[in-house]
Symmetry: C2
Subunit: 140 residues, 2 copies
DNA sequence: CATAATGATACCACATTAGTATCATTTGTC
DNA sequence: GACAAATGATACTAATGTGGTATCATTATG
């Protein structure tokens, strides 16, 4: 199977955020309900709810309970970084370093494989670092 | 959880190959049994057997059945590429591209996120491309 | 023929991810 | 205040992938 850099959680979250950012630019300060998001984005409702609740807990969204309630962005799209979203759903970004980590390692020197993986991890982090919802919406 | 670039299968396989390559340079053409590998590398025996069988099927090892049998490298360590080993156990190397792959994508343009993931994938492939068992053994 | 090795294959266990269900709480409207 | 419409919290279930076992068949050597 393909190596996963983003999970479905993150994927859905980013899409929802993009949708909300796009709608907000048309209709200022509008609150958006789960119902609308589900209709527009076609995701399973209870799953999306859980995701939005997490985004709310992480203060990327602001929620309003009760009739007429819903969610809105807690800050401008240009200040919502996907690295933050990824961290919420996936924890800190890391590539696995398990290879040769055990003491059975056939050579005692610093492992070559490990160096390669570290380089990849560094590059990946750099690529993702500055990316925001705004940029994704604009295609940069 | 950490993003996995190499699975345990691959990890074990690479270690076994390294061990075999190291022993071969001392004692030319020696056949090595699962028993020896298990003793030296401390891996679960039936699991390692399955792994070696796959390496054999992929023609990285040559097996000899029957009493006095075992495995030996099918080619010099410098010609065994970890990309090949990875492919055997993990399939073709790919980062997930599921994000926005569906038609619900909020912007129709080529997706920015996707571009980033592709860049990471390219870099990773380049890093791993030339690496052989020999290099790992030597620490390069 | 016994023994020691691999070949083939089916099965099991555990963790993670994806998704569901339910009930509690809040808020607006009549 | 009652009702309806929204989220909060949380526990549960399902699907998948990875790691690992078990078993029997086959082959080669002495």
């Amino acid at each position: 199977m393909a190596t996963k850099i983003v999970t479905r959680n993150t994927d859905y979250a980013v899409r929802a955020l993009c949708y909300m950012a796009a709608r907000e630019s048309k209709e200022k300060g509008g609150i958006i309900t789960v119902t609308e998001l589900v209709k527009e984005l076609g995701m399973p409702r209870p799953f999306l709810r859980k995701i939005l609740q997490k985004l709310n807990a992480a203060e990327l969204l602001i929620s309003k309970k009760g009739k007429g309630g819903g969610f809105r962005l807690a800050r401008p799209a240009g200040k919502i970084f996907i690295t933050v979203v990824m961290e919420i759903f996936q924890g800190p970004f890391k590539l696995n370093d398990c290879m040769f980590k055990r003491k059975i390692c056939p050579n005692r020197k610093a492992c070559f494989m490990r160096k390669k993986l570290e380089a990849i991890e560094k590059f990946a982090a750099a690529q993702l670092k500055g990316v925001t919802i705004r940029e994704i919406l604009n295609g940069r």
